[in-house]
């Protein structure tokens, strides 16, 4: 009797899990199909290379892509070193659970829970006004860096902590310094974590609109320096969808490009990391 019952429960649990997994795939599938269906037709080489005209109803997204890449580069150039540094401090230079460590971890967690619109306001006041960087790609990138910092710190930290204890003990027992241990052993071991953080950060940064509206702005012209304003792809999509009538298909086309970009970034980053790890193991 009980046996029959537990078999029944097993079956129901299995069905629920299968349905959940299928629902996830279906959601992604619907999203993808809808975006491809509505956006694919508009995408062409010319669309990718020319600047938007008539508020985005005509022309392309060339300048938008350039601004997007520049904002992302500023964001990564700041968030990766600062994030990896902070994670290394947390993992290697302080005792886990100590008051200092708890304080810094608390700050990181708080930072992670701040809504992006608040980062946008902060970026506008601090970077654009106080530091006098204006509404610019630099302000936008720096604001995004603040926003993705907790992701970089958390993933790098877990990567470093996941390095086997035996590795640390082995290195210490051979009299290796902290820097050598980090460089030769812990950072390579944490690579997967860092890459995961990089991808999550990139994804979050590429998709971000609220934090950039007030910091890097809307300008559609080709940026000439980091101090120029420039709209990113997600801001462009937001603008087309909300402010420009008759540009829905253009918004879909931009969304399609954004998705493809995310996919490419994901694939290439993990491939590069894998290859780097392999050469490291045999070098």
């Amino acid at each position: 009797m009980t046996r029959l019952r537990s078999a029944k429960i097993d079956r129901s649990v299995a069905v629920v899990c299968w349905v959940s997994a299928a629902a996830v795939c279906a959601t992604f599938g619907c999203l993808l199909i809808e975006i491809i269906r509505a956006g694919y037709a508009e995408v062409s080489w010319e669309y990718l290379t020319s600047r938007p005209l008539d508020a985005g109803r005509a022309g392309g997204i060339g300048t938008v892509l350039v601004s997007t890449v520049l904002v992302l580069l500023v964001c990564l150039a700041v968030s990766i070193p600062v994030g990896v540094g902070a994670a290394t401090w947390l993992s290697e230079f302080t005792t886990p659970g100590s008051r200092r460590a708890r304080f810094v971890t608390g700050c990181v967690n708080l930072l992670a829970s701040v809504p992006s619109i608040i980062f946008g306001l902060f970026g506008m006041v601090f970077f654009s006004q106080m530091l006098n960087l204006g509404i610019s790609i630099l302000s936008g990138g720096l604001t995004l860096a603040c926003m993705v910092l907790p992701i970089v710190i958390q993933t790098t930290y877990s990567g470093l902590r996941s390095a086997a204890v035996e590795l640390r003990l082995g290195a210490a027992a051979l009299g290796l310094s902290r820097t050598s241990t980090l460089w030769y052993l812990l950072f390579p071991a944490a690579t997967n974590g860092v890459v995961a953080g990089l991808l999550l950060s990139l994804g979050r940064a590429m998709a971000e609109t609220a934090a950039l509206l007030f910091t890097s702005g809307y300008a559609t012209r080709m940026p000439e320096s980091l101090l120029d304003s420039g709209r990113t792809l997600s801001v462009h999509i937001y603008d087309l969808a909300i402010n420009v009538s008759g540009a829905e298909s253009r918004a879909y086309a931009s969304a399609f490009v954004l998705l493809i970009l995310l996919l490419l970034v994901n694939l290439s980053t993990s491939m590069l990391a894998e290859r780097w790890l392999r050469t490291r193991q045999t070098a």
């Binding site: 005792t95 086997a164 035996e166 590795l167 640390r168 003990l169 082995g170 290195a171 210490a172 027992a173 051979l174 009299g175 290796l176 310094s177 050598s180 030769y184 052993l185 390579p188 071991a189 490291r280 193991q281 045999t282 070098a283």
Partner: protein
């Protein structure tokens, strides 16, 4: 009892190690205690190991054997709130002093762990990185690496694939590589923490013979659960035991005496296999 090595602790009531006049032991601890936070793990351990001898440490789990070993190269420094008191002298130099550099100490006192722990790098780099760290000239590096790998009998097995990942080696080979890695730094003392317990029977034999042969070059302290192994290779032996929750030494001296005619009843029961 061999005059070179004698262990003393409160249990046996003796008054400290007695060494042959004029000959200092290579490694000597006096009234060594280790405390983790408020918990005392080890208390009153006084042991001495003469140069080029093997001290085997046996005893049930949780009686502070590994803690003792870790204090000898100050790996205990890595554990927060760990306090080591008493005296540890390596070649007559106090290593618990603040001016003793733990990095240099760990070059002099090598260590091999229970689970082989080669770095996830190539075989060659496993030896090259520590050598570089301790200032080995590039020109000497290749010959030292070859010598160390030959010393552990691994050269013929790996000479054609020095750039292969160390993790592609078998368990026994990995452990020998770890021994070679420590040997390359020309240590004076080697600590082995149950070096064979994660290996297959064939590898156990190879590694055990290797350790026994190393005594010509280094002084060895080995923790082992394998009493037969301890009997085979040890010159000196010590039985660790937990008394009132604190690890201490209940029997020690020349291996033949410790294994042949132990004085302490608990040690005698343990060594004869009649106890946990």
């Amino acid at each position: 009892m061999d005059p070179l090595v004698q262990l003393s602790e409160s249990v046996s009531g003796s008054s400290g190690p007695v060494c042959e006049p004029g000959i200092a032991p290579m490694l000597e601890t006096r009234e060594l205690s280790v405390t983790y936070g408020s918990r005392r793990a080890l208390s009153g351990v006084s042991l001495a190991v003469p140069r080029h001898q093997i001290l085997a440490i046996v005893g049930p789990s949780g009686c502070g054997k590994s803690t003792f070993l870790n204090s000898l190269n100050r790996l205990t420094d890595l554990t927060p709130n760990c306090r080591v008191e008493g005296s540890i002298r390596v070649d007559n130099e106090e290593i618990l002093n603040a001016d003793c550099d733990p990095m240099t100490l760990r070059r002099r006192v090598g260590m091999v762990f229970q689970k082989p722990n080669p770095f996830p790098l190539s075989i060659c780099r496993n030896l090259a990185i520590p050598l570089k760290e301790h200032g080995c000239a590039k020109s000497d590096m290749d010959s030292i690496i070859e010598e160390a790998i030959s010393d552990v009998g691994l050269w013929d097995e790996v000479k054609d694939r020095l750039n292969a990942p160390a993790l592609s080696l078998s368990g026994g080979q990995q452990q020998r590589l770890c021994i070679a890695r420590a040997l390359a730094l020309r240590p004076e003392v080697m600590l082995f923490d149950e070096p064979c317990s994660a290996l297959d029977p064939f590898s156990i034999n190879v590694v055990e013979q290797l350790i026994a042969s190393l005594r010509e070059r280094v002084t060895i302290v080995i923790v082992t659960h394998n009493l037969a192994q301890a009997r085979r290779i040890a010159d000196q032996a010590a039985v660790f035991w937990q008394r009132d929750g604190v690890g201490t030494v209940i029997e020690s001296g020349p291996a033949t005496l410790v294994f042949g005619a132990p004085q302490d009843p608990e040690a005698a029961a343990y060594l004869s296999g009649h106890c946990c």
